[in-house]
């Protein structure tokens, strides 16, 4: 299985996700510099976490104008699985592959914390190795993860089953207290309509091996490796 990680100036989780991808697939991903205009043959595109362009202007806004972005959009539209983590999620909303936007956290501070998220469906390439409704322990680390979309968009996404993960309590209960950043409908991760594009604020690559303390992110990479291996 071939994977590609897009590297923007200011990306800082590119190596972390590369390690997790290699562990799951047995092969190192191709690291694609943002100035490229073409993608190599790949079964998965990853937009990593970090602070592309220092979060200046608006998180992900400047990365959205990078030369590589048209190729990413074209591949995603053609069905290539595309994963955006944290800043990568922000970029996905900026380039229109996912609806809505990520606003400043409800309490206006950066939050680095292990949280619970609930798996909303397990019939996608990203989540096949989880159980539906499973509660995962995965860290978040962001200043702007407060998901927002208007009422119609939220309703449409709920109808389409586009919500991938929700912040929750230890038993999967959806409470305001557990909604770490104030996201609408406790949304921690979202699919596009075709469910080949996933954006999420939590960092599965930081929960991928035993020494990191939690390993609930590892099945995401294993799911991708299993469903995309061909």
């Amino acid at each position: 299985m071939n994977t590609a990680v897009i590297v923007f100036p200011g990306s800082n989780c590119d190596r972390d996700v590369a390690v997790a991808l290699q562990a799951a697939t047995g092969r190192p991903p191709v690291m694609v510099w943002h100035r490229e205009t073409e993608l190599p043959p790949t079964d998965l595109i990853v937009l990593p976490g970090g602070f592309s362009y220092g979060d200046y202007l608006r998180c992900g806004a400047m990365a959205a104008t990078s030369p590589i972005i048209p190729a990413v959009k074209a591949r995603a539209a053609a069905g290539t699985p595309t994963l955006g983590i944290c800043n990568g999620f922000q970029v996905l909303t900026e380039i229109g592959l996912l609806p809505g936007a990520l606003l400043r956290n409800r309490d206006l501070r950066f939050i680095c914390r292990e949280v619970n998220i609930r798996v909303e469906r397990n019939d996608t390439a990203f989540t096949a190795n989880y159980a539906q409704g499973q509660v995962l322990r995965i860290p978040v680390a962001h200043h702007d993860g407060n998901y927002f979309a208007d009422d119609d968009t939220i309703a449409r996404m709920e109808d389409n089953g586009q919500v991938a993960f929700r912040y929750c309590g230890p038993n999967g209960e959806l409470t305001d207290r557990d909604n770490v950043n104030g996201s609408r409908s406790n949304i921690a991760g979202l699919y596009n309509e075709g469910r080949n594009v996933l954006g999420l604020m939590p960092h599965p690559e930081r929960a991928a091996d035993l020494l990191q303390g939690v390993t609930d992110g590892a099945p995401m990479f294993a799911s991708l490796a299993a469903s995309l291996a061909a």
């Binding site: 972390d16 970090g50 220092g54 950066f110 680390a141 020494l211 303390g213």
Partner: protein
């Protein structure tokens, strides 16, 4: 042109130099300096850059050991961590700027220390800090705390280096002088470390990074003076940080360092272009000629004086091999950085600056560096502190209530509100982040891990600088996670060195530090001195912060402080004398802090630490926590809260009153839990080991039956700081 200092009139503004120092400049140049030259001497001879008051004392510290690759004198210290790898680390203060503008002051403190480490070829892997604020109720404290924490997070999070540990404390002595000490640890191949000596002439001097602006001019001089009520007017001397630019600079430098293009490299930190160029010329025994017109700048009309003294951030100066310019420039352009050849090395031994084709400064480098003043300032030793008899401290009626108030009070309450604002996990190698005795970070791609900590107990140092200066707590913290302590970096934060009692504190603390570092095999490899931490003549508590680094051969074998299971035996390792002088308990009961702090028995310290490390390595214990502020009961409460498991405690040794047993702060001690106590006792040798209780239940239960639930403790422990910050 030759002039004699004796009959040269001095200008009105000596830029912080004393009249004697000014005369020395005239003697060196053989003429009065012009404005640019005077500025250069002023920053190079500032306390911040020259260590002129502390050098005499710093020379007494041990700096060598088989693990040391490079001790003090370079940008950071370097120690061997095996397998051809080196850990490179340093701590540095940004106290004065952080008080004036907390966000930018703290942010650029982090940026500066990161540059010190990656300048030497290391990829930074962890950040730590040591913060001191004034009274929590002081009107400025919350503003300063919120700004500093946001600044540290804003910089470290963006550049993508995890902030894994540190300390935050409060004391009214810091009301007008907060302390912001930032530490970075990096890892490099041991055979590819970059130094600052620009050996060779005719080599291109290359500037890379941000453009030079007018920010931070004379920052180093500001950091070498006391504050008064008008200090906030010094805001223009605080630099502004751009962590995104630094991330680009970091990646560009590491990419270039993978080639053989670089002869010498130096970051532009305090005193900017001046100190970086002088440092490289001095270490390389060469001259440097700089073309001011070639320096990338943010605005037009900047003078040579401004360009040389600006402390604009995110800049590097390097000397390249001839012909390597094109390759370097290609890398810098890829990372969208400004870069320019701004000069070359020569055989003149002089720093010469050209502007519009004319020399505007011409200074011989050796005397600029070597003739910096060095003061043997008068000092008076701190008077011996009386020993406090535990029997003279009242026994509290309700020891559980005391515990609740201590664990939920300013000194011991959870710092979660602070460290959740720091990304402690980016780079994906954090094994144990904030909240433990020491942070544990896997060395990327290996099974090893680094343990890191920062520590200082200023009230001990104030009462007895020699005992308080002993660095045992940092050593103990590294030991408690199972690491072999390797070396330290220190940040000496003190008041005005022109006062003999302050110099007495500094000298005493360094004496204690030297003794302890020698006895524990824990040399000092880098450090920083911050003096003049005074406002209107009132100094801070003496605060010699220790940053400690240790090594675990197997990251999986790291130990944590959380209780793991019910029914385990709790053991106290080390001797309990019930020492209450300078303890939090004594303070809580209204006893002043001027009694003697607990003495450090370095032989016993070493024996206890070696035992702990062996027990961890052999898998004999399940949890370990060192005893410090608040003594045994507070340490046990922290273990209980972390594991969400209670404990029952046995009666104390017959000769100790209950309050001294539980709250005494004797040094060299640890609490451990085990399900094989006989193995620990057999292994202990000369180290005192006592069974003190058992884990289990949901409360801490004292031998007299008093108890408090772990949940209630956790609630007060977690409430205090968010409550303080949310209060209007």
């Amino acid at each position: 042109m030759m002039a004699d200092s004796k009959n040269t009139p001095r200008p009105n503004d000596l830029m912080g130099l004393t009249p004697d120092e000014y005369d020395r400049v005239v003697d060196i140049l053989g003429r009065p300096p012009n404005l640019t030259e005077l500025g250069i001497f002023s920053v190079m001879w500032s306390e911040h850059c020259s260590y002129k008051s502390s050098k005499k004392w710093l020379k007494t510290l041990p700096t060598e050991g088989p693990q040391v690759i490079c001790g003090p004198g370079e940008n950071a210290g370097v120690v061997d961590i095996g397998d051809g790898q080196a850990a490179i680390f340093k701590i540095e203060s940004h106290n004065h700027p952080s008080f004036i503008e907390p966000y930018q002051g703290a942010a650029t403190g982090v940026g500066g220390i990161l540059r010190d480490v990656f300048t030497m070829g290391a990829r930074p892997v962890t950040n730590l800090n040591a913060l001191r604020f004034g009274d929590p109720q002081h009107p400025k404290t919350k503003h300063l705390l919120a700004g500093v924490v946001a600044g540290i997070g804003g910089y470290g999070n963006c550049i993508g280096v995890p902030t894994v540990g540190g300390e935050v404390n409060f004391d009214p002595s810091y009301n007008g002088n907060i302390l912001v000490n930032a530490m970075t640890v990096g890892i490099a191949p041991a055979d590819r470390i970059f130094y600052s000596a620009a050996a060779g002439t005719g080599l291109p001097v290359v500037y890379v990074g941000a453009k030079t602006g007018r920010d931070g001019i004379h920052g180093a001089t500001m950091a070498s003076a006391e504050f008064d009520d008008d200090s906030e007017e010094k805001r223009p001397t605080v630099q502004v940080g751009d962590p995104f630019k630094e991330k680009l600079l970091l990646e560009a430098c590491l990419e270039l360092m993978a080639t053989d293009a670089i002869v010498a490299i130096q970051d532009m930190g305090a005193a900017g272009l001046t100190s970086s160029s002088v440092e490289m010329a001095s270490k390389g025994n060469v001259g440097i000629a700089l073309d001011m017109d070639a320096v990338p700048r943010r605005e037009t009309g900047m003078t040579a004086y401004e360009l040389m003294l600006s402390e604009s951030q995110e800049r590097m100066l390097m000397v390249l091999r001839p012909g390597a310019e094109d390759r370097a420039m290609a890398i810098f352009r890829k990372w969208e950085l400004d870069c320019a050849v701004v000069g070359e090395t020569d055989s003149s031994g002089r720093l010469r600056l050209r502007e519009n084709g004319e020399y505007v400064a011409d200074i011989p480098v050796p005397p600029l560096v070597a003739n910096a003043p060095e003061y043997d300032r008068p000092w008076t030793p701190t008077p011996a502190a009386p020993v406090l008899d535990a029997a003279d401290v009242p026994a509290a009626d309700d020891l559980c209530d005391v515990l609740k108030r201590l664990i939920g009070g300013p000194h011991l309450a959870s710092r979660r509100w602070v460290w959740e604002q720091y990304d402690s996990q980016v780079m994906a190698d954090t094994v144990h982040g904030p909240g433990g005795d020491a942070a544990v970070t896997r060395v990327h791609g290996t099974e090893k891990a680094l343990a890191t900590t920062t520590d200082c107990t200023p009230r001990y140092v104030a009462a007895d600088p020699v005992e308080g200066g002993k660095v045992a707590e940092a050593w103990r913290n590294l030991t408690a996670v199972g690491a072999r302590p390797l070396a330290v970096t220190n940040n000496l934060d003190f008041g005005n060195p022109e006062r003999p009692e302050i110099m007495g504190q500094l000298g005493g603390a360094l004496q204690g530090m030297g003794e302890a570092c020698r006895a524990l095999g824990f040399p000092v490899v880098s450090g920083n001195v911050s003096l003049y931490n005074e406002t209107n003549g009132r100094g801070i508590l003496p605060t010699p912060v220790i940053g400690g680094v240790g090594l675990l051969d197997d990251a999986r074998r790291h130990m944590t402080l959380a209780l793991k299971d019910e029914g385990e035996v709790i053991l106290l390792i080390g001797k309990a004398d019930g020492w209450l002088g300078c303890s939090l308990y004594a303070r809580f009961m209204g006893v002043a802090d001027h009694f003697a702090p607990p003495p450090v028995d370095l032989d016993a310290e070493r024996a206890a630490g070696d035992l702990i490390r062996a027990l961890i390595a052999e898998g004999e214990i399940t949890a370990c926590h060192d005893l410090s502020d608040g003594g045994l009961l507070c340490a046990l409460a922290e273990m209980a809260m972390a594991g969400n498991i209670g404990a029952s405690l046995d009666n104390p040794p017959a000769d100790l009153p209950l309050h001294a047993w539980f709250y005494g702060e004797d040094q060299g001690r640890y609490l451990v839990t085990t399900n094989q106590p006989e193995n620990v006792l057999r292994r202990a040798g000369s180290v005192p080991v006592a069974v003190i209780g058992r884990t289990g239940g949901t409360a801490l239960t004292l031998p007299n039956g008093d108890h408090i639930s772990v949940a209630a403790l956790a609630a007060v422990h977690e409430e205090w700081l968010p409550g303080l910050m949310a209060a209007p």
